[in-house]
């Protein structure tokens, strides 16, 4: 069967109830999770994770893809209606979505966002389906030197691009790598750094670490503020009329094809870059849209362009992240990192061989992604009367439920309390890192890639002990050079920003003096 026959066959497969039900439920969970302020897509996918343990791999992945697609669009609901982004990937949607609502067009704001998410996701899906195979074939040419250098490049790039300090980004990545050295070494199985503790003998399991890091890091900032945002919650509009001529909203997008395609490309590119995610994609696309616009001064007043740029890019970002994990085994963001963990539970390792060895699952992912897009629109359309109630759900009810699901997610992995203790430990570490303003994304990538970095380094040295091969092999050397350049670029960029800020402060001070 050729590429398109396989795709059509698997579209038919995913339309069977056994896959469609998890996909629909995942999409509903994603839209609700995305719409709830303070609950991110990552948190939602972590909550859904334990429900997937009893399912077959494709059923579980269908549910997670539903969450991912639904959550990416769901964030725009709150962003447009109450001016609070449901997820970080909808921050830029608030800039024009909320003003449009205040201008008396809440339905238009929501539906421009939904259609932009659909079209951006669809264009991204086409690229996902067409590019993943060729990229995986390219990755098959890689030896251990190239993989080692690729992982180093991914880590250095994330460390440089995320957060406000390159040192903190790199430190976060290093902590992630350190977490993976506990337990048996990959050659002889010698126990390392276990300090005589039995539960460390298998190393730190990836998913409890990930769930723990995100659980407290994302929930506790809300706990800090409970009782202080009551007014905002009370002010949430309950009587908005969301009815709108949907074709007009669609036409608002279709008559701006360049904006749609450019924002989609920005989202795809950011999605392909490891561990950066939709939170950067929507802001970058919004910024680009304003720069290219003939009426940049209108941005922020409630114009369709701002919503289109933000929503199409954050949904295309989903496709970009999926390309990276399916072709190289590198998660594009935290959501795909959870998916990677879920796959490894079933004994499946994403990477260059994924498409050829697990064709049914790979094409099932493509199919689930394509089907999740219209489902997302359907869920938002049918559920629109409920959204205004959902977004005002008290945090005091939500947080205990989320924490219980986190415990189940960690426990159910191996039916052992050890994984739950690991979860508790990393809850504390995650919150401490948030308070120290150390970004979590490089740490997650370090934990995901740590074993692979070590295994490929050993494989390379076992093949040929000459360490210079890492530098002299063209692709490997190029990737290492790119790693150094990405860190240098980030350092230069941060220094420039600091200088600009210092200059502005001095000028403000001068104004005050005079």
């Amino acid at each position: 069967m050729n590429h398109y026959e396989l795709l059509l066959t698997h579209l038919g497969t995913v339309l069977h109830a056994q896959y469609l039900v998890p996909l629909v439920l995942g999409t509903i969970a994603g839209v609700v999770g995305g719409a709830l302020p303070g609950v991110t897509i990552t948190m939602t996918v972590i909550m859904v994770l334990p429900f997937t343990f009893g399912l077959d791999p494709l059923q579980g992945l269908a549910a997670m893809i539903g969450v991912y697609v639904g959550g990416s669009a769901g964030g725009s609901i709150t962003a447009s209606l109450i001016g609070i982004p449901g997820t970080p990937s909808a921050i830029a949607t608030t800039f024009d979505g909320y003003p449009m609502t205040r201008n008396g067009e809440p339905g238009r704001a929501i539906w421009i966002g939904v259609f932009a998410a659909f079209l951006g996701g669809l264009l991204g899906g086409i690229v996902l389906i067409e590019l993943t195979g060729p990229l995986a074939s390219l990755a098959l040419q890689f030896g251990p030197w190239e993989f080692f250098s690729l992982y180093v490049f991914a880590l250095s790039m994330v460390a440089g691009l995320v957060g406000k300090s390159v040192v903190k980004g790199l430190l976060s990545g290093a902590i992630g790598l350190v977490i993976t050295v506990f337990g048996p070494d990959p050659i002889l199985g010698v126990q390392r750094l276990t300090m005589g503790l039995d539960f460390l003998e298998g190393g730190f399991p990836f998913l409890p670490v990930l769930i723990g890091l995100f659980a407290f890091a994302q929930l506790m900032p809300d706990v800090e503020q409970i009782g202080r945002g009551k007014q905002a919650e009370a002010d949430a509009p309950r009587a908005l009329v969301l009815r709108v001529a949907k074709l007009d909203a669609l036409w608002d997008i279709l008559r701006r094809p360049f904006l749609l395609i450019w924002s989609t490309l920005v989202g795809l590119l950011i999605g392909v870059l490891p561990a950066i995610g939709g939170s950067a994609a929507n802001i970058m696309a919004y910024d680009q849209a304003r720069k290219f616009s003939r009426r940049p001064e209108m941005f922020g007043t409630g114009i369709p362009e701002g919503i289109i740029a933000s929503e199409s890019s954050n949904n295309a970002n989903v496709a970009g992240s999926l390309i990276m994990i399916m072709a190289f085994g590198i998660p594009g963001d935290a959501v795909t990192a959870v998916m990677l963990g879920a796959l490894t539970i079933h004994g499946i390792q994403p990477g260059p061989l994924f498409i050829s060895q697990h064709t049914a699952i790979a094409y099932g992912i493509f199919a689930a992604y394509l089907l999740a897009l219209p489902l997302m629109m359907l869920v938002i359309w049918l559920g629109s009367p409920a959204w205004l109630r959902v977004i005002t759900m008290p945090k005091s009810i939500l947080i205990p439920i989320v924490l219980v699901l986190c415990v189940i997610g960690a426990y159910a992995l191996g039916n052992t309390m050890n994984d739950v203790y690991v979860l508790l430990l990393f809850c504390a570490i995650g919150y401490a890192m948030v308070k120290a303003r150390i970004p979590l994304a490089p740490l997650i990538l370090g934990v995901v890639l740590g074993d692979q970095v070590e295994a490929n380094m050993i494989r390379a040295v076992a093949n040929d002990a000459d360490p210079w091969l890492f530098v002299t092999r063209p692709i490997s050397g190029g990737l290492l050079a790119a790693s150094v350049l990405s860190v240098l670029f980030a350092l230069w960029q941060h220094r420039r920003e600091a200088r600009t800020a210092a200059k502005a402060t001095t000028e403000e001070g001068a104004d005050v003096d005079f």
Binding site: L171, V178, Q225
Partner: protein, 162 residues
């Protein structure tokens, strides 16, 4: 007195140096030129180096700040409620520690109810009913969904057998 970054750097440095010392007991290389200690030492040294850089940058920032008058805060800032965060963490830790003794069903009802009360004190009897309903409802839904439909076994209590 070190700032936030300085403290983070010192904690990371202490951890990396402590773990580096632990690698001393690892055996030498046997089958390949690099042994089980090589990679941990490499990443721990990298972590220690970055920790030192973080401490140094914090120290430099502190010195710079000393030379500049502290600006007066213009807006009204909302102080985070760390006591509530601590209470949440303690409740969560107790829940996890009690899980193997009480079992999922009893421990979860108690935890969900207790944490709702910790996060927002119920002021009306309707709210108390809601707290109880959410606690019991969450436990029943999880129990039925995971044990009956998804074949995921949840912890049983040593003391209660439930």
């Amino acid at each position: 007195m070190p700032g936030r970054d300085g403290i983070a750097g010192l904690v990371c440095l202490a951890i990396s140096v402590g773990l580096l010392l632990l690698t001393r007991g690892l055996p030498p290389p046997v089958m390949v030129p690099i042994g089980p200690a090589f990679y941990p030492r490499l990443v721990l040294s990298f972590m220690a180096l970055l920790s030192v850089l973080l401490i140094a940058s914090d120290w430099r920032a502190q010195r710079r700040r000393r030379g500049v008058a502290t600006p007066v805060a213009g807006g009204v800032s909302v102080r985070p409620n760390y006591l509530r965060v601590l209470a949440t963490f303690v409740a969560f830790a107790i829940y996890i520690l009690l899980l193997p003794m009480l079992g999922f069903r009893i421990a979860t009802v108690l935890f969900v109810a207790a944490l709702q009360i910790v996060l927002e004190w119920p002021r009306t009897w309707r709210r108390w009913l809601l707290v109880a309903g959410v606690a019991i409802g969450t436990t029943i839904v999880c129990d039925v969904a995971f044990e009956r439909y998804l074949s995921v076994l949840l912890p049983r209590g040593r003391w209660t057998g439930l």
